[in-house]
């Protein structure tokens, strides 16, 4: 699916690039700023970034692809991250993962048909005394069960 950036989005990205030029180690904060704004890091801006940061396009690609946090395609309106780490496993997260996938009808890195929720795995949310944990956008939820996850999903889906 080709994603066309709007002219306004492209302008904002150009401004972000300008704002990070000359900043020591600026590529990381720049990519965060772009993803926070647009929702992902569009591959079509690699040439712009490459020129501004004096890097090759391959280096920019290598950087983005290295980090799990960055994504190069749009995601759903909300992002649901489910913790897969040991502490949550000890509290039954494997079943929770399977139930969430079944309920949403998607696997990890996929988005629900209505475009509302993207499902991602995460390895530790630092909420390990209240496992299992999930994160909806920037909010962590602890000691969750399927009922609570369904509530969360329906809240954001109807919101």
């Amino acid at each position: 699916m080709a994603n066309q950036l709007s002219a306004a989005e492209l302008d904002r990205i150009k401004a972000h690039i300008l704002g990070h030029q000359g900043m020591p180690g600026g590529l990381m904060p720049l990519m965060h700023t772009i993803q926070d704004d647009i929702g992902y890091v569009p591959e079509e801006v690699y040439p712009l970034v490459s020129k501004a940061m004096a890097l090759s396009v391959a280096e920019v690609h290598g950087f983005v692809s290295f980090y799990h946090h960055f994504r190069t395609h749009p995601v759903g309106k909300h992002v649901l991250q489910v913790c897969r780490a040991e502490s949550c496993q000890a509290m039954g997260s494997e079943k929770l993962e399977a139930d969430i996938k079944a309920k949403l009808g998607i696997d990890y890195h996929e988005t629900t048909a209505d475009g509302k929720v993207t499902l991602l795995p995460v390895y530790c949310l630092g909420n390990c005394a209240c496992s299992p944990a999930v994160m909806m956008d920037d909010d962590v939820y602890g000691r969750v069960d399927m009922e609570q996850v369904e509530e969360l999903v329906s809240e954001v889906s109807n919101g």
Binding site: H32, S87, Y123, C124
Partner: protein, 520 residues
């Protein structure tokens, strides 16, 4: 005006602290009760969050766990004057879980409003910096060395020795880098420092800067901690405005600037050289050592890279003296360790204690046994690269050397508890899977070994050429252990081999699986 404390720590929020706060505010307005709500940090008694506290003439009284449905009855019971209620825990300081701890690094956590500089100062904050400003650089470093503090990120390298190397290194620019990429499952003490007492980290980094002559500090913060990011930035702004950071720290003429940089979800960036690459705006590939980061670190300049807890422990050492800190602990493990009880544990939370307490005391006296009520079968100490320990090893004291003797690690002090429903072969497979997802790819033993490890585990659990594959598992682990560039590949064998050695029955040993050998 009665002060009501409701935590704003992520874990408290994750179990509904915001909803509780709203309900209390609304009920107070309805009843015309004269209260002010303070969003404090968490005391770390996470199993009973949301835990609210009320200031009374006798001290703070705790109620927990408080859900919105409990609020009306709390007001009926006159909780704002410490009234009795089914959820009352009495005086907070008298709760055994808290009272029996030795809180040095976490002395203020849960007591103060984390972003209030006034609170921080009222509770002995910035006393360490004041002392440090009157000392020579050498004396500050000596105090840290004499305290016996060792790197709390997991490597346990003496902090003072690292600082001394940076102090002695030549360089017009030096850096302090705080490793806040707390990726280990079962750990949350870094997050708690940053969310519940951020100034202690800022003060620790400032002292580190003074000690080694660094003027710039970076906190490399994992992207999974958005609350910590906001709180740190707010605290840094306030510290700057009050002259505790900036071009003229407390009028000393010395400069120290700080900035938070967000990481991007790569576990390997918790390894210090990978972290530095990432901070420089590159892929987080592990560097060869030497040169040590203390000599050639960030942007090639001498750099102190310390974990959050190490840096957050500096202020109390400089405030109360090296000996005060060194008086806690056992053997070569001096001071306290903020231990994190996690996973299948009834009373999960933060327990800061002097080194020397045993695993069993932590698991049962503090933790209260498993959350499921079933027997505890295994614990993993020190994150995903830490060994699994069986019940027969629960009398081991929390001490770097005692763990080393068992071929285990303390790491960052996280303890993940599993009950008897756990399948340890599955956990061993998961260790390889995690390593394959997170490997930076620079060295072959880790990059290839992790994937081969998953395959070998699948063969073992399906009984395919069982004896042969158990041997392959050991050989592969040996190669990763000795041939990997950093701890990710080098320590993945810890959970794998410890699981195999202590829980062989889950790997089909002595259980007749051998009969299937060659079936495939």
């Amino acid at each position: 005006m009665v002060k009501v404390y409701i935590p704003r720590d992520s874990t408290a929020l994750s179990v509904g602290a915001d909803r509780t706060a709203k309900a209390i505010q609304a009920e107070a307005e309805k009843r015309g009760a004269d209260i002010t709500i303070i969003r404090n940090g968490s005391r770390g008694l996470f199993w009973i969050e949301p835990m609210i506290e009320v200031e009374t003439p006798k001290g703070r009284v705790a109620y927990a766990p408080v859900k919105p449905k409990d609020v009306a009855s709390l007001f009926d019971a006159d909780f704002i004057n410490g009234g009795d209620h089914a959820l009352s825990l009495g005086l907070t300081e008298e709760i055994p879980y808290l009272k029996n701890q030795q809180r040095l690094t976490f002395v203020r956590a849960g007591i103060t409003d984390p972003v209030s500089l006034e609170d921080y100062i009222a509770y002995d904050g910035y006393k360490g910096l004041k002392n440090a400003l009157a000392m020579t650089q050498e004396d500050i470093v000596k105090a840290v060395t004499d305290s016996g503090l060792r790197g709390r990120g997991g490597a346990a390298f003496p902090t003072g020795i690292k600082w001394n190397t940076v102090l002695g290194a030549k360089g017009a620019q030096k850096y302090i880098v705080c490793n806040a990429d707390e990726g280990d499952s079962g750990t949350f003490s870094d997050r708690m420092v940053m969310e519940d007492d951020p100034y202690v980290l800022i003060e620790g980094m400032t002292i580190a800067g003074l000690a080694v002559g660094a003027t710039q500090g970076y906190i490399y913060l994992r992207s999974e901690y958005p609350h910590a990011l906001h709180i740190l930035n707010e605290a840094i702004d306030k510290a700057n405005a009050a002259g505790y950071l900036g071009d003229d720290v407390c009028g000393s003429g010395k400069s120290f600037q700080m900035e938070v940089r967000r990481a991007a979800g790569a576990y390997v960036c918790g390894e210090e050289t990978s972290l530095l690459e990432s901070l420089e705006g590159k892929r987080g590939l592990v560097r060869f050592k030497p040169p040590l980061p203390a000599i050639e670190g960030l942007f090639g300049k001498p750099t102190v890279v310390n974990n959050v807890i190490s840096l957050a422990t500096i202020p109390i050492i400089l405030d109360k003296g090296a000996q005060y800190y060194a008086d806690y602990g056992m053997g070569r493990s001096r001071g306290t360790l903020p231990i994190q009880l996690a996973g299948n544990i009834k009373c999960g939370g933060l327990v800061e204690l002097a080194f020397g307490i045993t695993l069993r005391e932590l698991l049962y006296d503090y933790g209260g046994g498993s959350a499921s009520g079933r027997p505890i079968r295994a614990v993993q100490v020190g994150g995903p690269l830490g060994a699994y320990l069986p019940e027969s090893q629960f009398d081991t004291p929390i001490d770097y050397e005692s763990f080393q003797k068992l071929w285990a690690v303390l790491g960052h002090g996280g303890i993940v508890v599993f009950d008897d429903t756990v399948n340890m072969a599955k956990m061993a497979r998961y260790a390889f899977e995690f390593c394959s997802i997170e490997s930076c790819g620079k060295c072959t033993p880790c990059r290839i070994g992790a994937t081969r490890g998953v395959e070998v585990m699948d063969k073992i659990t399906s009984g395919t050429e069982h004896t042969k594959n158990i041997q392959v598992l050991r050989d592969l682990s040996d190669t990763m252990l000795n041939g990997s560039l950093c701890a990710l590949g080098g320590m993945t064998p810890y959970p794998v081999i410890s699981a195999l050695n202590h829980f062989g029955e889950d790997f089909g040993l002595n259980k007749g699986l051998n009969e299937k050998e060659g079936a495939a």
